[in-house]
Amino acid sequence: MSESVSQSPAATTAAPSNEPAIELRGLRKVFRDQVAVDNLTLSVDYGEVFGFLGPNGAGKTTSIKMLMGLVYPTSGQARLLGRKLGDRVARRQIGYLPELFRFHEWLTGSEFLDLHGRLYGMSSAERRKRIPDVLALVDLTAYAHKKIGTYSKGMQQRIGLAQALINSPRLVFLDEPTSALDPLGRRDVRAILARLRGEGVTVFLNSHLLGEVELSSDRVAIIDHGRVAATGRVDDLLSRDLRVEFRLSSLPVDLLPELGKLVQVEQVVEGQRTVVMARVAGEAAIAAAVDLLARHRVSVYGVTPERRSLEDVFVDVVAPSREAGR
């Protein structure tokens, strides 16, 4: 996909410092007797790429639909760009790619973008300039005058992405933006996300592809049963509750209790080198443990943290409740 596109106005719009771009407080949705979203509370700062994760049926799409005005909350509050839900001024600055990207198939790609540009209140001059830009961004310039009905699934998802960006939004909601894309298409979407982040656009990303989210997001929230089960910076979540292997010259017996205060020692294997397997709460604990060992003149030959992925974190967070539910 081309990178030669005009810069989003979001890049030049100063973000309010005192309010988050997205703020949800106790958002709840009940369909008859089924609680889809329960007391969802979170905030996303301006310019963040925020990953919104959860297992099937966790309430992710319902949450996004509430924010997009497609579904009405049963209770709770939400503000987007500092304005209450449904505010027309805010909506002008928001883009949205629905999960089930079904569009008017009888329109051509160009006509489709023109329609959505009109709905955003863009002038004809703005639309004339912006439509070729976003078509280039999603690599559909050659298909601008073909009917959407003739597009492949991946192309339909890409025209949907173009539609979400036609208004140069300050805030974009992408619900499974790569579900129909091949690896190349997914890489292109990652490039678009990086570009949006560079322009200061806030992105709310819902995806099942945890690798994508891990690569693209600054912060994530994992929701389960309609509630936030874990949230934080991606790096923090990945380094939380780490397993680390220390390779040492030796480990004096009297040092073990002191080390145990910093890390949770699980196993000590004596040999040519003493190997200590431990669980740590974060990277800071690793540094403190190495300091302690160095002070006691223990040579540290290696510290190998077990590389965790967002998927591991996700499973750790979600699996217990799934097990309990069985």
């Binding site: 369909f31 639909k65 997009m68 005005g69 497609l70 579904v71 009405y72 027309r88 001024v89 909506r91 002008r92 928001i94 949205y96 629905p98 089930l100 990207f101 079904r102 569009f103 008017h104 009888w106 329109l107 329609l115 959505h116 009109r118 709905l119 955003y120 209140g121 949907g160 539609q163």
Partner: protein, 286 residues
């Protein structure tokens, strides 16, 4: 502005899906058939009349206007019936279908109010249907004039009433489309349309047989759905009084026209149903 965008989209969809092309071709076929029928009718009538004059030596009978009026009534009834069916088919899935397909998911989050979506769709259909009815009535009237050498009275008034019939059905179909799935809506609206037509027939029979109960059944059905009563008023205004008294109560027309209050009721009925559609859609989770 947003209303105009949605109205334009609705009209554009009808053109793009070749609905308009299909309707125009079939309508031209209907007008051609109707013109042929009118021509044959006039030929037969004139030859019968010539034979009658030769046999009796009497001058031309004044009943040509009555028969030609019946031909016009038949043409207008066909237009009214076809437009009714077309209205229901065109609008039956306009909201429900888009919800089912998910196409509204990209539209509703835009800076547009939900009432603008409903109003835009309504206006788009109303414009197309009104233009279609006006053209078809012109087609019937021109055929009557050129082929049958006959001009029906109060054609504009009658056309407006046929448009009102279409608007009644459109309002009902739109409301149903915000409440039910496309299939359920189609079934319900067609059943109500059938009830209205049957109710109108029962009322005509009641008038012919002097049955108060049958007339009341007809009135009841026209309160439920006033499309048939507005058609009967349209049929009444486009016929000369001689034709009305000569033909009497019949399946296509009436000798007792619905009052102005019935017209007012129909207009308020449309407005209430459109407001109802907006209110239902406004509250609905998509």
């Amino acid at each position: 502005m947003n209303v105009a965008i949605i109205a334009r989209l609705t009209v554009r969809e009808a053109f793009r899906r070749k609905v308009i092309l299909g309707v125009v071709l079939l309508s031209l076929a209907f007008i051609a058939l109707y013109a042929l029928g009118f021509h044959l009718f006039r030929d037969n009538y004139l030859s019968l009349e010539a034979r009658r004059s030769a046999r009796t030596g009497a001058g031309p009978a004044p009943s040509y206007a009555v028969s030609a009026s019946a031909m016009v009534l038949l043409g207008l009834y066909t237009v009214n019936f076809l437009t009714g069916i077309m209205t229901i088919f065109a609008a039956v899935g306009t909201v429900a279908g888009e919800i089912e397909a998910g196409t509204l998911d990209a539209i509703v989050p835009k800076p547009i109010s939900r009432w603008q979506i409903i109003t835009g769709k309504y206006l788009g259909f109303a414009l197309m249907l009104s233009a279609y009815i006006a053209l078809m009535v012109c087609g019937v009237a021109l055929t009557a004039h050129l082929v049958g050498h006959y001009g029906p009275p109060h054609l504009v008034h009658g056309t407006l009433l046929v448009i009102l019939v279409s608007m009644i059905l459109l309002s009902l179909t739109m409301l149903g489309s915000t409440l039910f799935s496309t299939m359920t809506n189609g079934i319900i609206v067609f059943m109500l349309y059938g009830v209205a037509v049957t109710g109108g027939l029962v009322e005509q029979l009641g008038t012919a047989l002097n049955s108060d109960t049958m007339v009341k059944i007809g009135v009841g059905s026209s309160i439920l759905l006033p499309s048939d009563s507005m058609w009967r008023l349209a049929s009444y205004v486009v016929q000369p009084s001689l034709a009305i008294s000569f033909i009497g109560p019949n399946p296509l027309g009436t000798t007792v026209p619905p009052s102005d209050r019935a017209v007012h009721y129909s207009i308020v009925y449309c407005l209430m149903l459109v407001i109802g559609s907006v209110l239902v859609f406004q509250r609905r989770d998509l």
